[in-house]
Symmetry: C2
Subunit: 276 residues, 2 copies
């Protein structure tokens, strides 16, 4: 058996997330309710791989991105005994079986000890706001359109408060199911190249909706509805109601995931989709 | 009654074209077959306008773009007696009632003699080919992904043959329903800024699928399957089978339409309207 590490890009618009989240235990053994027949990205990818290697493939992904959230560098792993398939042929065969909005950017053989979840060291998300009077009709599902005067300097000042080790309980969707809500944020920055305003957040790990709640809270600061200094109080409250609203999924990108295997991770997706 | 000229941008991916084309006469008076319940852009826009002005609005568009084809500058016109609505409020109200992939870019009051079809002087289309090894997962519905070595210089040389007045019968989808297949092409050019290869075609008017068949034929030249000089023979054949395949709709954009009215927007803002 050979283990492979996959780096995957996808547009989340048409999917029910990487993997359906928060399945209600009362559904067990029954048909899922309406809406749960929507495909997941994991399912599409697993079937494409199985079609190539011709055996069942449990596929483990690093991040459970929500419905409508995109990825430039999701990481996953799987095992196969068909390790005689040349690696680029394997990648192209899998891509040929995937819809146009999912792309396997790279496949690498890794040690059997590699695990997409446990080997994760840090992750970076990007949130893209389209800051212009008119919405962009060609990529309305790839950005969040907001048009009002934003105090970007105040947002930058507020963003700095998230850096470091904090209890992020105020920034987690209730029902996240984690006992430990302490996380370390390595970077949180706001940059503006009109009409794009990009919020980048890098950290050891993230709670459910954490990035989207941080973005929603930073927007409140940009609108001068709350002061940059109040971020410390909001963190200290450890209560979801203290923070701002949850930004919608379509502006969110899982940019990259750094893993322990030490092979340099693709830094960003250039539009060609070739490795950086 | 005041006539208004609209300039509209849309992503055609989710729609059955600007207006359903080539309706089979045998359907008349019957329910349309499956698939014909898919909305058209004209229908979405007409309903949004009617919802604002509160009366029925026949909406006339300049170009009947096909399913999956996009527009940066489609032109349409409609009449309303609600000309007291300030123009920017009208535009914003209509946009608020449209889905995110359709945008009214501008509304201008025009003379009652203006007609989106008859006042058209020329149009420009763009066709975008994504010329890179991997497809682009974030805009797979906005480009045509092709990866093979293309002789761009040969394509440029071939493109020049289309410029001028020609009978374009070889470049029309059979069943186009036009007696006169003579059209004037003012410009046909190929430019490459990797990974985008853009074919621009400007002309007095276009036959059904004409741009997509020209693109498909230029691709054959790029692949060295036919010589640039053979374009003259293909035109002279006046037979669809002489030309190359039809390129798919997702790479095609209606870039702009030049019309006769020529009145700058602000010249005719009085409620009585009627410029020139």
């Amino acid at each position: 058996m050979q283990r492979y590490k996959l780096t995957i890009a996808y547009r989340g618009t048409r999917y029910h997330g990487w993997q359906t989240q928060g399945v209600n235990p009362t559904w067990k053994g029954e048909a899922p309710p309406a809406g749960h027949g929507i495909p997941t990205i994991q399912e599409k990818l697993r079937r494409a791989i199985e079609d190539v290697v011709r055996h069942e493939v449990p596929l483990v992904g690093s991040s459970r991105t929500d419905a409508g959230v995109h990825a430039k560098g999701q990481i996953a792993h799987f095992d196969t005994d068909k390790s005689q398939i040349p690696i680029e042929a394997l990648r192209q065969s899998v891509n040929a079986r995937l819809p146009g909005d999912i792309l396997v950017r790279s496949i690498e053989p890794v040690a059997g000890s590699f695990d997409a979840i446990r080997s994760t060291i840090s992750k970076r998300y990007q949130y893209v706001i389209w800051h212009a009077p008119d919405r962009p009709p060609f990529f309305n599902d790839l950005v969040w359109h907001r048009w009002f005067k934003l105090d970007v300097a105040a947002m930058q000042s507020a963003a700095a408060h998230f850096i470091g080790e904090h209890d992020f309980a105020s920034f987690a969707k209730p029902g996240h199911g984690r006992d430990n809500t302490i996380r370390t944020v390595h970077d949180c920055s706001v940059s503006c190249r009109a009409p794009r305003l990009v919020i980048g957040i890098e950290g050891s790990g993230f709670l459910w909706h954490m990035v989207r709640i941080i973005v929603g809270t930073l927007l409140e600061v940009g609108l001068k509805r709350c002061a940059p200094e109040s971020m410390a109080e909001i963190i200290a409250a450890k209560n979801r109601t203290a923070a701002g609203p949850t930004a919608p999924p379509q502006g969110l990108y899982l940019q990259w995931i750094r893993t322990e295997d030490a092979a340099p991770v693709l830094e960003s997706l250039n539009p060609q989709g070739s490795s950086g």
